[in-house]
Amino acid sequence: MDAQLRALAAPRRRQILELVRDRELAAGEIAAHFDVTRPAISQHLAVLREAGLVAERRSGTRRLYRADSAALAGLKQFVDRFWATGLERLKDRAEAEAAYRARPAG
């Protein structure tokens, strides 16, 4: 998950991810959408691939890329953890306070 967050920390990589969310594209087709060098795009794709956010497939001499929808769903789960951890803490603290208030006087 850390690798995915780091991969998403670059705006360009989020744009690439958006491009290949619903369709498979070759590296050259992706590069054509941006005013940056092809090697720069390849580097971004490598980071996204290593983070598991995009899948790479070879077709002849071409490499095709597509977003991994399961990985994106995983990010949603990460958001969910904010509440999961917070509520676990709430439960602990509320139960401790309830026990404290219910203690015998003296």
Binding site: D2, L5, L8, A9, P11, R14, Q15, L17, E18, R21, L72, A73, L75, K76, Q77, F78, V79, D80, R81, F82, W83, A84, T85, G86, L87, E88, R89, L90, K91, D92, R93, A94, E95, E97, A98, R101
Partner: protein, 137 residues
């Protein structure tokens, strides 16, 4: 725990009475025992709350429903966060007395879809904030 669309839902039973659990959402001293390190709360409909979660994340919102000890609802967003700005999402908490104490149900709606569309600048900060918050837990 279920995740459907933009909704996040949690349910848990807490061995404490609803009145006490409710106060953890409206009393700053109790609030900061589980959320953030500093909070100012104005728990009435339209009242603003502000919670410093950690150095780079401050949650800001308004109470929408304050109905002790059964229901509290508030808007949710990060101060300066483009992806989840203040007011953009809503958290509804329902407390039901059960023999063991309180059944807490939390529903968070209005969160951005992880497909990232339209949230170009906001995601970095938002995810970093969440990462920090989750790590705090």
């Amino acid at each position: 725990m279920t995740i459907a669309g933009d909704r996040i839902e949690h349910e848990m039973v807490i061995a404490a009475p609803p009145e006490l659990v409710f106060a953890f959402f409206t009393d700053a001293e109790l609030y900061t025992r589980w959320m953030g390190r500093e909070a100012t709360l104005d728990p009435r409909p339209g009242g603003v709350y502000r919670c410093v979660v950690h150095d780079t994340a401050t949650v800001v919102g308004e109470y929408v429903v304050v109905d002790p000890p059964r229901r509290v609802e508030f808007t949710w967003g990060f101060d300066g966060g483009a992806a989840v700005p203040p007011g953009s999402s809503t958290v509804a908490v329902t407390l039901t007395p059960v023999p063991e104490g309180t059944l807490l149900r939390l529903v968070h709606t209005g969160l951005p879809h992880p497909a990232l569309a339209g949230h170009d600048t906001g995601w970095t900060g938002y995810l970093a904030q969440l990462a920090g918050a989750a790590a705090d837990g």
